[in-house]
Amino acid sequence: MTHRIAVSSKVEDARAESLLRSLKALFPQSALEGASYVQAYTVDADLTPDELRRVAERLTHPVTEVSSTGKIPTPGNFSYALEIGCLPGVTDNVGRTARETIEDCLGRSLGEGEVYSSYFLFLSGSLSQEEAHAMARELHNPLIERASVYPAGSDFKVIVPRVELHEHTSVDEVSLDVDDAELSRIGKEGIKNAEGTRRGPLALSLKQLEVIRDYFKKQKRNPTDIELEALAQAWSEHCKHTIFADPLDEVKEGIYNRYIKGATERIRKAKGKKDFCVSVFKDNSGAIAFDEKYLITHKVETHNSPSGLDPFGGSVTAIVGVNRDCLGFGLGAKPIANVYGFFVADPNDKTELFRDQAKTQPLLPARRILEGVIRGINAGGNQSGIPTPLGFIAVDPSYRGKPLVFGGTVGLIPRKNKGRKLYEKKAKPGDYIVMLGGRVGLDGIHGATFSSESLSSGSPATAVQIGDPITQKKLSDVLIREARDKGLYSSITDDGAGGLSGSVGEMAGESGGAVVDLEKIPLKYPGLAPWQIWLSESQERMTLAVPKAKWAAFKKICDRHDVEATRIGEFTKSERVIIRHTGRIISDISLDFLHDGRPVEQQKSAEPKRVVLQEKISPEEPAQAILRMLSGPNLGSISFVSQQYDHEVQGTSVTKPLQGKGRVNADAGVIKPVFDSTKGVVLSHGYTPWYSQIDTYAMAAAAIDTAVRNAIAAGASRDYLAILDNFCWSSSEKPERLYELKQAAKACYDIATAYGTPFISGKDSMFNDFRGYTADGKPTHIAALPTLLVSAIGVIPDVSKTMTIDFKRVGDLVYVIGDTNDELGASEYGGAGTVPVVDVKKNAKTYDALSKAIQKGLVVSAVGVGRGGLGIALAKSAVAGQLGAQLNLAKLPGNAKSDEAVMFSESQGRLLLSVARTSQKEFEKAMKGVAFANIGEVVQAASLSIKLPEAAVELPLSTLTESYRSFFKHW
């Protein structure tokens, strides 16, 4: 029996108001007048009338809400009703909580029953049917949600989105004794079903499939579908990072080993006793020493393809997923900060694009992608109770096909507990394999192989998962609050890409083998095929190795926390990963082949033809240019994002994402993670993908320099600073792209070793391409700019010395340190000149001098000069401080001569500072040997007055502030 409970507000309802506001903004021509909101719960279970009444009461706030259990109550006048709910099988967090509330109220389980949530929006005003449908389209994403549109007077159907799978659930043998064409198709489109359809990409090359075929020939049998799928996952670009790992030209050990890991090894050696790296590259996050007692971990991930399809679900998964990389470091680090970054198309870009030629599968509009990914981090981060001190939005048309969505998590872990090192782990033969957290459904099947391909009409919709932050928070509490420090498990890892196939495969490597009984794995709903269970990327799960003697104690903790823990098998030392299904062996692969059987492929690069950027056609007045850049999405305020992400939770905040009276976004943040220590952690980011249009070596060098510079500005020093690399490339099968990649990797080595800032963790995503169709049905290919995000993390001795970017007192002197050269190429100002070249020797000296000056208390404000050049840095410090400045830029160190180069060149290695007059002498003494210029002073007059070599600029503070806040003003 199905029941429906409707709950509506009897007071003013901000949910309805805010939906009405956005619909009115999107449909300014429509006659839409009002909106009212009704939350509905569809209970697919038997309840007595009395039970139903009690349950409805529970779901209703007595002061502000009313409920009904019969028909959905309708407002007096409305023209259309829209019902929006989840599609079958899509994570329904509200439905899950309602279910728990109902079960708690009734004191019994609903068993096979289920509770689904949806909402009705009643729209008033004379709307056309077309408009109502268009509004429904705006309010839901058809890949994960359903919408029904009802004109006034019609009946509302009761929809029960029960999952009903009719797929066959047996294990199939797959013959690889086929011709090369068919073998290639298996790799590209997947295993063939009996009725002729394909299961979706394995992303295995012909060469790889041949190696698999030969392996099973030696075993004298055909592989099963689950074996083939598991190998495809294990060998995927996403999991094995084949492009970074395999030989490229003369770099036999691969560019990762030579340039990234190689840089870290060299730096650690050079640092000797001062080496602060503790666990790098081998675990789910990288870790450095915080103090005698604690380590700090960091990891940054991307979740690009799914975010293109379902921006909300994609980004919530990005952040809760990377949280698990923190929980899965060592025996579990506590997540203490999240960072984010969105590379997207201009949200006002209205270009329509389609995944298929028939134009039935449109890409989401650029605006909805940005809105969705912002909301995702909001839900994931806020609900998990992890502060978000830092993040950014960057815009370029090349991200229209696929957005790049970065999520990062910093963790804190004690070095030891009762003599046991918490940052090391090893599953032992005989340990139970325990799956902890959520259940398994169809979510995210083929996620790992899918992200190794470009986004096109074949992209599977089930590749999208939606995170459930609360289930994960409960899981986190089990681990961090109790089980870890009681020593109840010997190893742990995250169920991320490839699901159990990835986690069990990896941990089997520690013990020497594993055997799994597949039927023991708890499912969200029946009807899944074994290969689907093994590969599912359903979220909020981790795999643990629990010694038999500890199982009872471990299970008890899980039960108290209401977290599901299931023994699904045992770790062994058989050197094989064996999967049984009700006793029958359905998969049996040697560990050796699973992990190291992948054929190495020699890659070749070729120097691309240089694309010549267009010269800037009409020169702009400097004042105009500053206002234009400030009003753009790359440099304008994103306060609406910073403010909707909790950066105060955990009580660790030191410098805020919005700084100064004028609340300007900073490029670094500082937290104080340990209550009884004065030490702080500085986080910063650097990215300059635009330079890739000219030179990827320069791009990577500038990204690192920017991250380091931003950290220095906040109070970090070079001798205790580590970095993380996240490469997002496109069309990486092309030799030209590989050439660019190699150049960027080389820059990573050169700059990191020169600065002594080791890489501690990294990730890559190599196919950020979109292949589809334009509105006229023409094929199109959009490739994301070669993008390197560098995240820096440093430890400082005393948080009370940290810096913010705002001018603070009238009369303070303003300084620029570092050379300003004529480097306007691919700048925000625009231009075809040279891109900034990083002079590591000079910059290192500059940074060290500044770090010392900050420690001595000689500096009042500091901001890195980056995108938009000095003009923008000045605007930021002035707007942040809500103070003017009188400046003369006619004689800056460096070779910039023209007004535009002086103002907008993006030369690296520079910072803009303010210094109290009383500190002038000592400050200038501290800058000995460093290029610096006293360029003026902070003044009472509310404007920036700048004398340039030729012209002069006068910009009122109010105009600057208004421009700075304009782009996202109505978001």
Partner: protein, 256 residues
């Protein structure tokens, strides 16, 4: 008298237990973080405590309404035990999600609705003490952060009048130091009568949306790097404490 013992609720997505515990411990209390299910299994644990804390967080993800699911669970399984606890001369506080939970469980009056902006908001606010409560003794104004999506205080007009008359409206948003510094509206969420916190009739149970436990150090203030210049240029030492700490001191002092 002995320093009081604090029990801080945990579980199902509450998430500010650690900083709340640290705030209490820094002023001399002893504090335990206890999962609600452990209290349900053994309600007698409450007998050892003088102070109960429903901390901030996102219990059940705010799904079905903030604080509703946890509040119902609390009321159903621990309603009687908490009633017993409050019969003694004890204190209880609900912070942010904890406040939402207390209203749903009927331990303080009113309700918290979605912010007028329709969006989660994290910023600092300034508060004026307008009621009487041991928690707020000797405090006139203070600045503390908020972080919530459903913090608009609501009660029907008749109830508001009663609360006001009984001095149960404990805290109101005002345009104070931080709102002026950052030119931001005093009332961050549209709360009726700018209400940020209310108490039970005897003042011993306090529910409030802002987070005093995140305002216990000087370097947590949103403008401390600016204030630093006052101290440095005036040749003075930087302060160490933040304005929220007094609330925890008051609670401890109530028992000494």
């Amino acid at each position: 008298m002995k320093k009081p013992h604090v029990i801080i609720f945990s579980g199902y997505g509450l998430n500010t237990e650690d900083e709340t515990k640290s705030a209490f411990e820094s002023v001399g209390a002893t504090a335990d973080i206890v999962h609600i299910n452990d209290l349900i299994a053994k309600p007698s644990l409450l007998q050892k405590a003088q102070i109960l804390v429903m901390p901030g967080g996102f219990s059940y993800g705010d799904d079905t309404g903030s604080g509703k699911a946890y509040g119902n669970r609390l009321k159903q399984h621990l309603g009687a035990a908490i009633e017993e606890f409050l019969k003694r001369d004890t204190l209880m506080i609900g912070i942010c999600n904890g406040f939402q939970i207390l209203t749903n469980a009927g331990l303080v009056d009113g309700a918290l609705l979605t912010n007028d902006s329709g969006r989660f908001s994290c910023r600092w606010v300034d508060l004026e003490v307008t009621g009487e409560s041991p928690w707020l003794k000797d405090i006139k104004t203070l600045s503390v952060p908020i972080a919530h999506g459903e913090g608009k205080y609501y009660a029907p007009p008749s109830q508001l009048a009663l609360l006001s008359k009984a001095s149960q409206i404990a805290l109101k948003y005002v345009e104070g130091e931080t709102a002026k510094h950052f030119s931001m509206a005093a009332n961050p969420n549209g709360s009726l009568e700018n209400i940020a916190g209310v108490t039970s009739h005897n003042g011993r149970v306090l529910g409030l949306m802002p987070h005093p436990e995140r305002a216990v150090r000087f370097t947590q203030l949103p403008h401390w790097t600016n204030l630093r210049e006052e101290y440095v240029r005036g040749g003075k030492e930087l302060p160490t404490e933040g304005p929220g700490l007094q609330i925890f001191k008051n609670a401890v002092n109530y028992f000494i």
